[in-house]
Symmetry: C2
Subunit: 308 residues, 2 copies
């Protein structure tokens, strides 16, 4: 799958433009300067100011491939947004703050330059929205479909990072937003829950958290397994995207919402304060973590597998 | 281009294995534990210990694609080595210390699991050789050729990082090793000059440095341009790989050697001490940086362009 030509006139391709001009004329203008960046695009590596005492370094990489994560006819700016927003959603799931991104574009020679400019416009828009500096990257040709690989570095306070493995039997389970139906469009335009993820650990003792990328049906079992507990979900309580069935809410995937587990006491405080802080985003109790139990989990389908 | 089946019996493919088993059975066993890693493979992000005061964070990403950077018949372990060694060579060029890597594999469903295991064996070998911890990554299917994208994070002391832009007219130019002929095999088995890059800035005032990935003919003009100077190369002095012409030494690319510029005084000290420290690696004076001059640079061909 190759990006469509935009417009009737055949536009300039990456092969005609060349790698050097691609970097300096198409990519670099989209990368705003940032006071923490000592050396950015154009040197061997990006050099950035370190994070200081008391913080941990957080690293995440992700990729999207034409024909797998986006259709050839998808708008390039939305593809760019998605490419950066996906790893940012993982930062949200750990309550970490993203700071610096590296972007690799693997694309056929015949890819239109106009399409590529739009792609980087979308990347830059997501970077600006979440205060991330794109500090470097790489480009390569390929005989196959377009792929965009994005790596993000950031920080989290030593006492605030949340893994999937801290859930305890008896914890209440919550999800943000609504689940299901992402393929109808949201999968290209979602908002990583960075602000929510940061606020949660500032005010509450969150035992386990992750972002929902493969669907609740795949991701909740991962959280439970990592925590060494079981789970019970009230399927009727699931916050479904309009028009979606329970099955879709569980198995569609690409929700990019947060799944979190807290004690009963903490969850009561959370429910009281959430709506005031985030009045436009639902927070829904969907069940609880339990002692290991095969019976309660039996009806839970598994989610999306890129190779499956 | 797809990786060859290894052996006569049709081996298990990634599509048959599935993404979850690929991670836990093929990839994870190759990722050694590391005391600086707080959370690694299996959580939303990798969480690592921060670098403390006085250091800068260094970030680099790179990718290799079948049919562009390696042939389908290349040994998978060598492909893995190259995928990690390339960004490490950029760290060498900045005198930075690589610490953590993220690896993304984009591969067709039909890729043999055996090939993939060998790939990660090569990645793990390079990681161990240069004391880098692979702390995360991503996998995706594709309808195209295999691509491996690697991002590396590390550190450098605030006063020791070297960019391409600090060269001064009158500086002496040096390269490590020999140039040219890399495609005959070295491009899959080279040694990133991390130790040399670190030693150089510990003992000498290096004004500008970079690694030679696209060939001296492309990379030296970049260094000169970034430094705002010209250059004069003694083409007869170039350290050529056995059997290579001057033209090949200049234009073949993928040398992964260091190019550096120092004052005349510093370069004399360097020449006295190099051989004792690195007796098995040549260091050759190849010319000098000059005031801007078109005449002296005119015969210098340009190097390799991935899209050109």
């Amino acid at each position: 799958m190759k990006p469509r030509q935009s417009g009737r006139r055949r536009s300039l391709s990456l092969g005609e433009l060349g790698e050097e001009r691609l970097l300096w004329e198409v990519i670099a203008p989209h990368l705003p300067r940032h006071r923490e960046v000592v050396a950015g695009v154009g040197d061997d590596c990006a050099v950035v100011r370190s994070t200081g005492a008391g913080k941990l370094l957080v690293l995440k990489t992700d990729c999207i491939v034409a024909g797998v994560h986006f259709a050839a006819e998808a708008k390039a700016a939305q593809v760019g947004w998605k490419a950066l927003a996906r790893p940012l959603s993982d930062f949200a799931g750990m309550s970490a703050r993203p700071e610096f991104a590296l972007v690799t574009l693997i694309a056929p020679w015949e890819t239109p330059v106009a399409w590529t400019k739009e792609l980087y416009r979308g990347l830059a828009k997501a970077a600006a929205a979440f205060e991330v500096a794109i500090v470097g990257g790489e480009t390569s040709s390929t005989a196959g479909p377009v792929a965009i690989s994005v790596s993000v570095a950031g920080t989290v306070e030593k006492k605030r990072w949340v893994s999937r493995s801290g859930g305890k039997a008896g914890d209440e389970l919550f999800v943000t937003g609504t689940l299901g139906g992402s393929r109808a469009g949201k999968h290209l335009q979602f908002t990583p829950r960075i602000a929510e993820g940061r606020w949660l650990t500032k005010h509450f003792a969150v035992n386990a958290m992750m972002d929902l990328s493969d669907g609740l049906g795949a991701d909740l079992p991962r959280l439970a397994r990592a925590s060494g507990v079981g789970f019970a979900v009230d399927e009727e309580a699931l916050p479904r995207t309009r028009g979606c069935s329970v099955q879709q809410a569980i198995a569609d995937g690409e929700d990019y919402e947060l799944l979190l587990a807290l004690s009963l006491d903490e969850s009561r405080k959370l429910q009281q304060r959430w709506e005031q802080k985030f009045p436009r985003l639902r927070l829904t109790r969907i069940g609880r973590l339990t002692r290991r139990s095969k019976i309660e989990n039996r009806n839970f389908p598994s989610g999306y597998d890129h190779f499956g």
